[in-house]
């Protein structure tokens, strides 16, 4: 096939980009070379629209061993233990083929983690669907959940937490973000940087097929009505092979024979070989006839673009091939020496004794285009003054029930019952809490992990929204008694070529940066997913933040489950009653305008650290952060978890009750304390200038508030738990 401008455009390259390729190469590329350029220069692999802004992220900290730029980020949790973790999107494939799309998303992120020498110990996910009324939503949800479970359950890694949301902006573009945590000895970490010349390049894992060709370029384009035709570009997962690959890799990693290792993810063999060579400032030579193929007559073009799953590329020490092969034979996996490292600083491919491609590595890496796209600043929306009569006909109890059965608040047990969350025997906080918690096997330590996003806030004002999610992640970790350490982010946005979408991206990143700097909560890994757009309709900006925290002694962990009647509930942090952009405003008042709640980073940090201090001094019996739905939803969840009730005190002054109960002011926690600890708690909070209110006390059976309402917990539980199950069954 002769390569022309049109062929290049069909491969997703822009006119200018093709021109630049010809200039850099000083010739027209052949079709295999063009394929390699298109794979490396697309948005998904090159980060060409985002790179300029990602540079500003706060990525450093005392506990950071590895920041962004590797397969995953790594943090130190003491005693030579380190946690490797990352979140990644698999949005486009999951919309086309929900089961396989979601499954291979989970498989891909786990490979990123065990590539670095870590055994995966927990999975999380953040999944977002269109309106529950949309005709595709139910099937997509069912497929995605089955796919995530199908892969993670088979590998035997517990899925310990997650987030699910519904919004019409995802009608044509669902989001599937998968996150994995792995445990590694900090002296035995493996990287993707190749070193040394004439070292054997090894291919291990599954055979290469024609699946997933153009996967990465699909993820770099918007959808149109022909989207169904793209089904063949979705990869097919084989969790059994991945389990074998995991065990084989970890066995090989026990000695010193690996120089560099990289999984074949997006853009398969192309990006893995280029990345290893690029990081080591080396060249790489591959004989494509040696690549194990599952289908006949695959061309160099197809071999280089295949996104077949469960494959790894390894640069080995000379002379170690035999021993390494033995391990892969034991696990029944393919093992082939397919090439070597060179000093040419080029990627050179051979097929049937002919050279079929020769490209200087830097053209695919450093010299790939970087764009400074135009973006529009988004102003803080004007405040809305709610009037007394807006609330006149409302009853607090009815509003609460409506919110508890709202798709975005209701219980998600239907989902996590389908995920194995207890395998590995160390899950001490299951899905459904503020964070999932797993123990570090055989120690007194545990890690907490949570994943959050707030698309409505980000849509209303990206800068505030970006700040808010980092804070929410921080609060979710504190709420279980974990010291927040670092985050990973998955930045899901619309079309970066549109100024508004690009502005949303830029300002969300700014917000994330501000919060993570202030809270000393650095970003150590992540990915960007642009072009979440179908027929000109983009998603609401949805950065997902995965946070990790450490609990030094897991005996100190707390949960949101209320403990004993007679205990006192406090609201830590100040309640003003911010209703704009709250779920109450949207669902009850049908008001979608106004600014999201203000973020005060000083209060956020101060309140959080003070709560953590109280937890570590064993002064808190249970804890839950206040987020979506405000105080009353938060208290209800605590009650439902424990089958206990709460008697709420009279409110001080002339506050609007609806604002007080449903406002979504930030930096707040509800904590349960014993009466005899009140003096101590009061002293610590006052010393640290933390505002708190007495909310009420724990009782049996009901949530009560003066004469206004008395709601049996059994009823609330049914309302909260039944919605999703009924929705999925009908």
């Amino acid at each position: 096939m002769t390569v022309t401008e049109k062929v290049a455009i069909d491969h997703g390259l822009k006119k200018d980009e093709f021109k630049k390729i010809c200039e850099l190469l000083m010739r027209v590329p052949n079709i295999t070379e063009l394929a390699i350029f298109s794979a490396m220069w697309n948005e998904h692999c090159s980060y060409k629209s985002s790179r300029k802004h990602l540079k500003n992220l706060h990525t450093k900290g005392k506990k950071v061993i590895q920041g962004p730029g590797e397969n995953a980020g790594i943090i130190d949790i003491g005693d030579d233990d380190a946690i490797v973790f990352k979140i990644e999107s698999h949005n486009h494939p999951s919309f086309i083929e929900p089961y396989q799309g979601a499954a291979t998303g989970v498989g891909g992120i786990m490979r990123d983690v065990f590539t670095m020498g870590a055994r995966p110990i927990a999975n999380l996910n953040s999944i977002h669907f269109g309106s529950p009324q949309h005709k595709k939503t139910k099937n997509l949800l069912r497929g995605v959940v089955k796919g995530i479970g199908g892969y993670g359950n088979c590998i035997g890694v517990p899925t310990i937490a997650g987030q699910t949301s519904f919004d019409e902006s995802y009608n044509g573009n669902i989001l599937v973000n998968a996150m994995t945590l792995g445990l590694v000895n900090k002296n035995k970490i493996f990287y993707s940087k190749a070193a040394g010349i004439d070292k054997p390049v090894i291919y291990v894992g599954s055979k290469t097929g024609r699946d997933g060709i153009h996967g990465a370029s699909m993820a770099s384009a918007v959808f149109d009505e022909k989207i169904e035709e793209k089904k063949p570009t979705v990869q097919v997962g084989d969790p059994f092979t991945e389990k074998l690959l995991l065990e084989a890799c970890l066995e090989l990693m026990a000695d010193d024979s690996i120089i560099a290792i990289q999984d074949m993810g997006a853009a398969g063999l192309t990006s893995s070989s280029v990345e290893m060579a690029s990081k080591g400032k080396l060249g790489i030579e591959i004989n494509l006839n040696k690549v194990p193929c599952r289908e006949e007559k695959m061309t160099p073009y197809e071999i280089m673009l295949s996104e077949s799953q469960e494959r790894m590329l390894i640069v080995l020490e000379n002379g170690k091939e035999k021993d390494a092969k033995k391990i892969f034979d034991k696990w029944d996996l393919d093992f082939a020496v397919i090439g070597k490292t060179t000093n040419s600083k080029k990627i050179e491919l051979f097929f049937d004794q002919k050279k079929v491609a020769e490209i200087p590595i830097d053209l695919l890496a450093e010299k790939a285009p970087v764009y400074d796209r135009k973006w529009k600043k988004i102003k803080l929306p004007q405040s809305i003054k709610f009037k007394k009569q807006d609330f006149k006909a409302l009853k607090i109890g009815d509003c609460l029930k409506k919110l508890l059965s709202n798709a975005n608040i209701c219980d998600k047990q239907w989902i996590w019952d389908q995920y194995d969350h207890t395998v590995m025997g160390d899950t001490i906080q299951k899905p459904g809490g503020d964070s999932g918690v797993v123990r570090i096997h055989g120690t007194s330590k545990a890690v907490a992990a949570s994943v959050d996003s707030s698309a409505l806030y980000c849509f209303a004002h990206p800068l505030s929204g970006g700040k808010q999610i980092v804070c929410e992640s921080w609060r979710n970790l504190i709420s279980v008694g974990a010291e927040p350490i670092a985050i990973t982010n998955c930045l899901n946005f619309g079309n970066p070529e549109k100024e508004k979408n690009m502005g949303e991206f830029v300002e969300c990143v700014q917000g994330i940066t501000e919060s993570s700097k202030y809270l000393e909560f650095p970003v150590v890994s992540g990915n960007v997913s642009f072009y979440n757009e179908t027929k000109d309709k983009g998603i609401k900006p949805t950065p997902s933040i995965g946070g990790i925290g450490l609990i030094k002694n897991y005996e100190n962990m707390v949960s949101m489950k209320l403990k004993s009647s007679g205990n006192i509930l406090l609201v830590i942090g100040k309640t003003i009653g911010h209703l704009e952009q709250s779920i109450f405003a949207r669902e009850i008042l049908s008001e979608k305008k106004g600014p999201p709640p203000e973020i005060n980073l000083f209060n956020e940090k101060n309140n959080g650290l003070s709560v953590l201090k109280l937890i570590n001094q064993k002064l808190i019996e249970s804890c839950h952060d206040v987020s979506l739905g405000g105080i009353l939803v938060a208290v209800s969840k605590m009650c439902i978890k424990s089958s206990k009730g709460v008697k709420i005190n009279q409110l001080k002054g002339l506050v609007n009750k609806f604002e007080y109960f449903f406002g979504e002011d930030q930096a707040r926690y509800i904590v349960e304390i014993r009466k005899d600890n009140l003096t101590k708690v009061d002293k610590i909070l006052k010393e640290n200038s933390v505002h708190y209110d007495k909310l009420g006390s724990v009782i049996d059976n009901n949530i009560e508030f003066s004469d206004e309402f008395k709601l049996p917990i059994d009823d609330l539980e049914k309302t909260y738990k039944n919605w999703l199950r009924r929705y999925m069954v009908n």
């Binding site: 088979c154 029944d332 899950t427």
Partner: protein
Amino acid sequence: MKSSVIIFPGSNCDRDMDVALKKFGFQNKMIWHNDNNLPQSDLIVLPGGFSYGDYLRCGSIAGKSKIINSVKEFAKSGGLVLGICNGFQILTETGLLPGVLQQNKNIEFICKNVFIKINNKENKYFNNIDKEILELHIAHNEGNYFCTNDELKKLQDNNQIAVSYCDEKGNCDDAINPNGAIKNIAGIFNENKNILGMMPHPERMIDKHLSGEDGSIFFKNLLNNLKK
């Protein structure tokens, strides 16, 4: 007491089982599926997981693996063989236990705590447990036990239904049946009661920080019974 846990490619509860057995005093060894011989053992465990990816049918390929012949011999000589979850599926595939495990009735994977009623205590597994009901954990996609009427009658006549799903109070009815298993069967014995296959995972319930502690009762008791 010596135990052996067999690792098939795709097993994923092997480590959890090893941890549990050692915690309660077994000297445990891990045995690779491709080995021919079993070390001298008082208990063989086929752990949970997805042996061979559960491709073809759950447990069917593992049922033909090299080590299985030794497991069969060991069982025939009266040795204790315990199959949990995928291990139970393997035991039915080898013919050491009757019946099959079909896909859950709701066609979904189920991971949650369940109560099981102990039906027969005259065996090494449950003898001397003072509780009638245990709270254990299930995590499976194919736990829906099924057998022919003749087989069921035999199971009932010989007291081979080891454990059944029930509620907190011990009522075994359809409403609490998690997966559609016939007669709420959660686990069965062979005729001699030396082979036990069950879907619930006792190894996931071995300390107070986990989903529960009733698994501890199971292991402690098993060890004591073997010592006798």
